[in-house]
């Protein structure tokens, strides 16, 4: 009698386990069924709320894509599945590489254009040079943006967005420091003409700290982790990057000037020695609410601040208190204002069997309506020529003004060696800012690192 309940329970347990295993095993993963429906998967990284359009626009282009297929007499229909989150860049990129190696890559992947250097070389994205002409939507693309999608004369992706990296300055703090309203209002023009230089900015920041307008270490901030921004410091100092042979150049004089700039800023009390390593959340919160006088930021952050970080007043508050212009000219360098643009591209994985359908979906997402909606929500710039005359776009005061920065812009090179170069170069910045080394020593350390990492693929000048 005692055995029966135990045996009964064991049977139930076995049944439950079996059911769970059966459920786990049945997962349907068909990319095409008999009715000609093809599933295109797309993978995007997007900041929550503001950048969702990156992949969502692909979803919204499906209706138009299917209409196009019907009009062309094609029997296939397409549906799009998106995987969109805000994973760390490093993890996100590794995920795509591992997935490609396992033959499970998504059909469309969004990424920074510089990945073309690595991914095209390793063959995991498709060369779409010859197919771009099949889609009239792509003729509308701003021509200068195509340069970011090219490697070895071939095109590997479709630009999805563009941005610029301005200098943001606090109007209220400048007024408190003693500037007149006229001086504050003319600052963007002075930056553009080169009248207000990098050194002027540092002097003003130092005066602000001395006057107590900002706390020590809060005169000038840049981003808290490595990023493409630091490249324009190097360009500004006169440094060249891409050599004709495909190797990357490390100009010691230019790098030393950059390290002296940041090291000097820390020594003068303008920049905090523990800024690098701070979390983005703390950084955005501090900057958006007005504790920092000068910030080297990104145009996409404007909207992020207005929506997620400004305590009261949203975009109104930002327009009232924050001004922007190009990065100041660096005397002793190029002596010209500058900025950097880092377009993200839609790329097609070489795993896919339906390159034409993937491009079709992308082309239907690359319309002035959808792209403008995305640009307005996320603070990105126009990528299509028709957007310059499209009322919803031009009615955005911020975007219209910041688009003028594209005049001074520079790009990151498409090179498989750029990531190692960037890490070596950033090591110098990190060393000097934390006080671990002098600028001259930092240059030597970076030279050793680059030669260790890149060998003959780096040219030390």
């Amino acid at each position: 009698m005692k055995q029966r309940p135990t045996r009964f329970r064991a049977l139930i347990l076995l049944g439950v386990v079996f059911a769970m295993v059966a459920a786990a095993c049945t997962s349907s993963d068909d990319t095409a069924d008999d009715s000609g429906l093809v599933t295109i998967t797309a993978r995007c990284k997007a900041a929550p709320n503001v950048e969702d359009g990156r992949c969502n626009n692909l979803l919204r282009g499906v209706v138009a894509a299917n209409a196009q297929l019907a009009a062309d007499g094609d029997d296939r229909r397409v549906e799009v599945q998106i995987i969109q989150d805000n994973k760390d860049w490093g993890d996100y990129l590794t995920e795509f590489e591992l997935a490609s190696s396992a033959g499970e890559a998504p059909d469309i992947i969004v990424s920074g254009h510089e990945l073309i250097g690595t991914w095209a070389t390793s063959g995991i994205i498709t060369d779409i040079t010859d197919q771009i002409g099949d889609y009239p939507e792509f003729d509308d693309m701003i021509p200068s943006l195509w340069a970011s999608a090219e490697l070895d004369g071939k095109r590997w992706g479709i630009p999805q967005d563009a941005e610029a990296r301005p200098l943001y300055f606090r109007k209220d703090l400048l007024l408190e420091l003693g500037w007149t309203q006229a001086e504050v209002d003319s600052l963007p023009a002075d930056l553009a003409s080169g009248a207000f230089t990098w050194e002027d900015m540092l002097d003003t920041a130092e005066a602000a700290v001395a006057a107590g307008v900002v706390d020590e270490g809060n005169g000038w901030w840049h981003r808290p982790v490595n990023g493409n921004d630091f490249l324009y410091y190097y360009y500004s100092a006169g440094g060249e990057l891409l050599d004709d042979s495909g190797a990357l150049i490390y100009d010691q004089a230019a790098a030393q000037q950059v390290y002296e700039l940041v090291g000097g800023a820390v020594d003068r009390g303008i920049l905090s020695n523990s800024l690098l390593g701070t979390s983005w959340a703390d950084w955005n919160s501090t900057v958006a609410n007005g504790d920092i006088l000068f910030v080297f930021g990104g145009s996409w952050q404007w909207n992020d601040w207005a929506v997620n970080y400004v305590v009261e007043g949203g975009e109104e508050y930002l327009f009232d208190n924050l001004g922007f212009g190009p990065i100041p000219a660096l005397a002793g360098g190029t002596n010209e204002p500058t900025t950097l643009t880092h377009p993200l591209l839609y790329m097609v994985s070489s795993d896919t069997e339906d390159t034409d359908l993937a491009l079709l979906v992308i082309s239907k997402a690359t319309t002035k309506e959808l792209n403008t909606e995305y640009a307005l929500a996320s603070g990105h710039l126009a990528i299509l020529q028709s957007q310059a005359n499209y009322e919803p776009y031009t009615s955005s005061e911020f975007l219209a003004e910041v688009a003028s920065l594209l005049e001074y812009t520079t790009f990151v090179p498409n090179s498989p060696f750029f990531s190692a170069w960037s890490e070596g170069y950033f090591l110098g910045i990190s060393a000097v800012e934390s006080g671990a080394s002098t600028p001259a020593d930092a240059v030597q350390i970076v030279v050793d690192q680059l030669q260790n990492e890149l060998g003959e693929n780096v040219i030390i000048r």
């Binding site: 190696s101 995991i124 490595n226 905090s272 523990s274 498989p416 990531s419 934390s434 671990a436 080394s437």
Partner: protein, 335 residues
Amino acid sequence: MTKQIEEEADALAGAAVGAPGPQRRPLGRRVRSTVSAYGFMAPAVALVLTFFVVAGILLLILSFTDLQSTNFNDAWTFVGFDNYERLFTDAFFPKIARNTVFYVFTTLIFFNLGLALVLALVTTSIPRRAGFFFRLVWLLPRLTPSVVYIMMWQRIASADPFGIYNQIAPEFLGASGGNLYLGGSPWTFVILTNGFIGASFGMIIFTSALESIPKDLLTAAKVDGAGTWRIIRDIKLPMIKWPLLFIATYQTLSLLTSFEYILLLTNGGPGLFTTEVWALTSYSRAFATYAGNNQWAYGATWAIVLVAIALVLAVAYVKLFRFNELIEEPRIENL
């Protein structure tokens, strides 16, 4: 001489189980007991084989190639000892090695062994329920997801106005207003964050060992007039010798390969690899390069050298602490 003793022992054993005369156990019994012994070990052996031996061999082979993101889908190219040369001539290799030694032994001595022992001794000397409660509290960091745990530490140690410590502590206690784990003392926070977690493992093991000391010994010592410190030094510590040595070995190897909390807190920074440890370098090289050219083979090289060091240490510990004494058969068979 030994053989004679063995035969006599066999005879006694035979007598004890009622079998006639000195004879070995029947073949069937021996085979069955051997098979069941290996059968019980099989799952653990399979795991070790798959995740350690096979993985180790793969890593070793990988370290002789130049596999990275740009040639990921091509056939492997073997480059001999290039990666090893690169590792040992890296300008920061000595610093990373020094950091690793410092990190492992400081955390081990002060927290994974030291604090664990203190916690175990204290919580076994107070009323049982209170002891249980405090041990539970000390286990909580270990149960907290690592990202959440580090975020809490960052909230404590961040700069004004985000850091709690800077808001409530007075200035002479180090609350300068700046970031404490990046600008203040990165190593303090790296060791604290890892130590608070590491202490709980030793604490549990030591507690159970301490609680299994026969109470008569302690009573007798007290009757003889021994004070608390004397009891700890002369009775408790010797009686938990094996757990102590085991924790020392296990935690050394565990700390050697741990990098999760350092990655989350300082990512090896600030500045020039201030808190970078070996395992973190291996991870960064293979998985976390900024613009995507992951150096799989180079990262594997760092990893396999670490595995080799860990193996050497493990063997050294076993020999030094004479662990084979722990698992020796007792010389007296039947008590």
